[in-house]
Point group: C2
Chain length 145, copies 2
Amino acid sequence: MSQIHGALQVLHSRGYRVTEPRKRVLKVLTEVQSPVSPYDIQEILHRKGEYLNHVTIYRVLELLCSLNLAHKVLLVGGFVKCTLGEGGGCHRFVVCRQCGAIREYADKALCEEENAIAQEFGFRAEQHFSEFSGICSECMASAMF
Amino acid sequence: MSQIHGALQVLHSRGYRVTEPRKRVLKVLTEVQSPVSPYDIQEILHRKGEYLNHVTIYRVLELLCSLNLAHKVLLVGGFVKCTLGEGGGCHRFVVCRQCGAIREYADKALCEEENAIAQEFGFRAEQHFSEFSGICSECMASAMF
DNA sequence: CTTTCTGCAAAAGGTTTGCAGTTAG
DNA sequence: CTAACTGCAAACCTTTTGCAGAAAG
């Protein structure tokens, strides 16, 4: 519960209500660690004997993403809880293609390099999406049978 | 037609057949310049009086992507024809959020920096997805009314 | 000719919408 | 209390599958 406390405060401070569905979705996101789809979340809750309508889950995720409390990982089409604070550049991901393990990071230097490249093309970059897929150390180890 | 000639050669040299549907999809991709969905492609062909089943378009796009002749742009969920050759790092995109204009580029230095970051997390990065959304010079100009 | 490819029909999945009833504050 | 939120039903859009017929080489 303490893990989601910060997020609940953000909800409250922005004038959104702290409801049971929102708490449940946040709880699942903090527990799973890897990207999950709305239906994954419903399934996980189901196994705990809890229930949420899928539409509600969609709407909660949309809200969380709009507040930067969660992110959609485009590469795998799932959602993760944001593990970073504000500032220091765009949030980026490394995803293990085998087990789905994910790490979030930010790197201001990368953002600046990318902005420079965009400028060469006459673009003003606003938002960077950067994900790379690879293989994590655990899966690497278990692959060398 | 000359624009798609190279792509057709790749198809042929890899043992795939050069068919009418494949030529049509490639032609649309070279003409539109911005990311299009399978149904967008069907619609564009329809306006020319041509027809392709949507399933065929899905399959053609899947093939083209597997051969790196096209890419799926995750940010907008559409497909573009690849405008780069092989080598020099992963293919990356800048997309205008207003008009959909897109530029593809590759930057080996960025790839290496990202690989180093992945390594810190114990990951071996294999594929980089990097897209940034921004605003292109034309839209920027027309925005300053 | 034969293998690959396309079209069709249908199903399966994912996402969105409007509205009535519920609940947080 | 009342504005914000959730659940439900239904629609909608996207993607996939299996199979029979067409076409490339």
